[in-house]
């Protein structure tokens, strides 16, 4: 290996009784892109946060460019040349992009912040990466992809030698991921080291030179990408074989449950019509920003629609009323479970039973007991991994949190389940379990509408694929005809109809 840039050896870190890192190691060379893989809870985040200066190791050594890395201070970590790009960058919405790039170390002349210099330096860095953004505009309202670009520019402005990208692609569209990869390769060509964390194995194998796989806080394997395949990577990650990523059972397709006709919300989506039947899983595919989440929000009544109708089991829902949708048997599992789906500090049982509280309220004294009974029942069916049903949800891993959201809504015994990005940010093992769960529910007669940006998931799970582009429904593709190409073509190229 050419010039070893970063070397982490024998890293240990405990939080209370939990061993977050237990013998982790990581090697990165200059001009190399390393894929860091592992299930949620494998210790990647802790390792990244340590390198970002947010944690200090209990034991182990970190060497950066031949010198010991001084831990536990974010500013010092940056000064030593490590920059971290997070999945959801935390920019300062009220500050200009220029100031976001230079925050905390604004250029000064005679002790005075040099605004003009700051703006022109930022413009220069933007130009260098081909980023078309005005350094003077505030960060508020930037797309996630643009926010990440600002973070990358920030990394360049401190001349970072090692750039860590923590699940950058999770919220990006395919085109944006391609742009991100281009930039990552450019960083590599400049002789910088890149650590790329992603749950999407195809991305990792396409972009990275080598992979390091973590499990239960330890590094279990490191290999050059050229010498391995994804099956091997998955085996390392989960420590077992995953027999079926997309368990799809044959379900009997019955009556129409959801019927959407001419649904329009001015400037957002236009003339959307489709049906979903009992036992069917229908995927709503398209690029980020195509209006998919907005359509399901309107179906559920979170947003008003301007014209058109939504009917469930034959009766038309009141416009803009989530409670009407819920009493008609519609359940929505939102995209952002942290913000919209869960009360993080509340108990698992309380979260699961929340939607059925009305039913439980009749027996006031027994509520705590029935809450636990409902919750334990669903936790068992979903194979939730928890210590105590009364533990706060925030203590669960991301995948298990998602199961809690699903349980919460399935407990209402819905006729139609809408899931928005059901497996975003979830490790492969849990992902397969969520898929199995959706499939089982379909067999039991549930109608499922799934918004997903994960193409293999769409192809693996859906009976029919509806493709949206720029607020319009542009294609309906049957399971037999759905391929990566047919879906992406419909999603990206105007005029193409499948």
């Amino acid at each position: 290996m050419a010039g070893n840039l970063l070397s982490v050896e024998g890293a240990y870190k405990r939080f209370g009784g939990v061993h977050a890192l237990a013998g982790a190691s990581l090697e990165v060379s200059a001009g190399e892109i390393v894929g860091l893989l592992g299930e949620n809870g494998a210790g990647k985040s802790t390792l990244v946060k340590t390198l970002a200066g947010l944690h200090s190791l209990d034991a182990g050594t970190i060497t950066l460019q031949g010198r010991p890395f001084s831990q536990g201070n974010p500013r010092s970590a940056r000064e030593q040349g490590i920059a971290v790009i997070y999945q959801e960058p935390s920019l300062f919405p009220d500050l200009s992009l220029a100031e976001n790039v230079f925050v905390g170390r604004q250029p000064t002349t005679g002790g005075r912040v040099d605004w003009r210099g700051m703006v022109s330096q930022t413009q220069g860095l933007f130009d260098g990466l081909g980023i078309d953004l005005n350094p003077l505009r505030p960060a508020r309202g930037l797309s996630i992809a643009d926010q990440q670009m600002v973070e990358i520019v920030k990394a360049l402005s401190i001349d970072a030698s090692l750039i860590i990208m923590d699940e950058p692609s999770a919220a990006l569209s395919a085109a944006e991921v391609a742009q991100l990869m281009t930039v990552a390769r450019r960083l590599k060509d400049q002789g910088r080291g890149v650590v790329y964390i992603s749950h999407r194995l195809d991305e990792v194998t396409e972009l990275c030179d080598s992979v390091t796989v973590m499990r239960d806080g330890a590094t279990v394997a490191t290999a050059a990408v050229a010498q391995i395949d994804t099956t091997q990577i998955v085996r390392w990650m989960v420590g077992r074989e995953i027999t079926e990523m997309f368990p799809k059972f044959d379900a009997e397709v019955g009556d129409v449950v959801l019927s959407v006709k001419g649904l329009t919300r001015a400037g957002v989506f236009h003339d959307i019509s489709f049906d979903v039947r009992r036992g069917e899983i229908v995927a709503l595919a398209g690029l980020v920003g195509a209006g998919r989440s907005e359509v399901v929000r309107a179906i559920f009544g979170i947003d008003h629609h301007d014209s058109g109708t939504v009917s469930v089991s034959g009766s038309v829902l009141r416009n803009g009323s989530p409670s009407a949708a819920m009493s008609a048997g519609v359940a929505l599992v939102p995209e952002d479970r942290r913000l919209q789906g869960l009360f993080m500090p509340a108990a698992i049982s309380r979260n699961i039973a929340m939607t059925v509280l009305a039913r439980l309220r009749s027996r006031l004294l027994l509520r705590g007991i029935s809450e636990r009974r409902v919750a334990t029942d669903w936790a068992g069916r979903l194979q939730l991994k928890y210590a105590n049903i009364e533990d706060p949800v925030e203590r669960l891993s991301g995948g298990n949190q998602q199961k809690v959201v699903l349980a919460k809504w399935l407990a209402t015994d819905p006729a139609l389940l809408i899931v928005d990005e059901p497996t975003r940010g979830i490790d492969v093992g849990t992902k397969a379990e969520v898929h199995r769960l959706l499939s089982e529910q379909a067999v039991r007669g549930l109608a499922v509408l799934m918004v997903s940006s994960d193409l293999p998931e769409v192809l693996g799970m859906a009976d029919r694929v509806l493709v949206m582009r720029e607020g319009r429904l542009v294609a309906e593709i049957a399971r037999a005809d759905a391929t990566q190409e047919s879906v992406m073509t419909a999603a990206t190229i105007s005029g193409a109809l499948a």
Binding site: L91, L95, Q106
Partner: protein, 332 residues
């Protein structure tokens, strides 16, 4: 910057609409009641806005970093009282000592607030409400029924309270200097930029290594010193202090900040804006008086103005968000 640039920057500033509103109120009321827009009338408004204006300027610093200090009313009154009492008990005490006493009292309260909020992580809303009562309680105990009257007030403060330069009351000059200093400090020092960053996204501020706790502590301490100065101005203004001095003014201070374009959610605004907000609030109160509206209605209008200010802010925010969404749609 070219002249055109300066003009366009000024037009785009958040403070601009408030200045327009201010001018509109002065002109229309002046047409109905000419004494209102006279130099005496304006001077009276400026005098009346000074204490709240200075407090608002210093408060803006805290609101910008997503904190709040509701103890300023009690502290301002306590400072005014203690300075007067100290001067009365030690006849011939140098003025510098009086100033020192005032600033020290303000600083002590600021440091206590800052310590509890920055290092113990307690919410500033609760801490400073508690301090509002604690300080007022201590104040009432110290003051009892005692009052500070004109002859006990240090002479320079009396002069400060009544004099003017080029028709601008000294009191307002003090407030203006305070507001401009805070504005420049926040615009041109890294320390000040950190406050905006903290208010805009506290978690991200920690991530980029801004010493959030230290910045918070120092900001509260500094705000305490400004409160000390405000106490001196208050004593000079009325040449009088008793256990009720400064009672309830903290809410006018917060209102002045919000009306002056300081976003209550942090990250946005300037101290000069907050001062203009204080002047506008005062001007409207005076204008309603000049138009013969009863005092009770004056308070209701002040409240309505506050709602108007945040509504305006919200509309602007929603509009710019829509623009961004449209842009994203075009790209997608």
């Amino acid at each position: 910057m070219t002249g055109r640039n300066v003009a366009s920057t000024a037009l785009k500033a958040r403070e601009f609409p408030i200045l327009v509103a201010l001018a509109a109120v002065v002109v229309t009321t002046g047409l109905v009641n000419p004494t209102f827009a006279s130099s005496e009338g304006i001077s009276a408004i400026l005098i009346e806005s000074s204490v709240i204006g200075l407090l608002a300027a210093s408060q803006s610093m805290l609101i910008i970093m997503r904190q709040i200090d509701l103890s300023v009313g009690s502290t301002t009154g306590l400072v005014a009282f203690l300075v007067g009492q100290n001067a009365a008990a030690n006849i011939g005490v140098p003025f510098a000592v009086s100033v020192g006493v005032g600033l020290a009292v303000g600083l002590v309260v600021g440091v206590v607030n800052g310590f509890l909020i920055a290092y113990l992580g307690l919410p500033s809303l609760v801490v400073t409400i508690a301090m509002l009562y604690v300080v007022r309680g201590v104040f009432s105990h110290l003051a009892g029924g005692e009052t500070i009257t004109a002859e006990q007030v240090p002479a320079p403060l009396v002069e400060l309270g009544s004099g003017s330069i080029f028709g601008v009351p000294y009191l307002f000059v003090c407030a203006l200097i305070g507001a401009i200093s805070v504005t420049l400090l926040l615009r041109y020092s890294r320390w000040g930029r950190d406050l905006y960053a903290i208010g805009s996204n506290p978690e991200a501020a920690l991530r980029v290594g801004i010493p959030v706790a230290r910045r918070t502590f120092v900001a509260f301490a500094l705000s305490g010193i400004f409160t000390g100065v405000a106490g001196l101005l208050l004593l000079g203004r009325f040449s009088f202090a008793d256990a009720t001095s400064g009672l309830g003014i903290e809410l006018y201070v917060i209102a002045a900040c919000v009306i002056g374009g300081v976003a209550i959610a942090g990250g946005v605004g300037t101290a000069v804006g907050a001062l203009i907000g204080a002047v506008l609030l005062q001007t409207i109160t005076f204008a309603l008086g000049a138009l013969g509206v009863s005092q009770f209605w004056q308070q209701a209008v002040a409240g309505a103005l506050l709602v108007l200010a945040i509504t305006f802010d919200r509309v602007v925010a929603v509009r710019s968000a829509r623009r961004v969404v449209r842009r994203v749609e075009v790209l997608a």
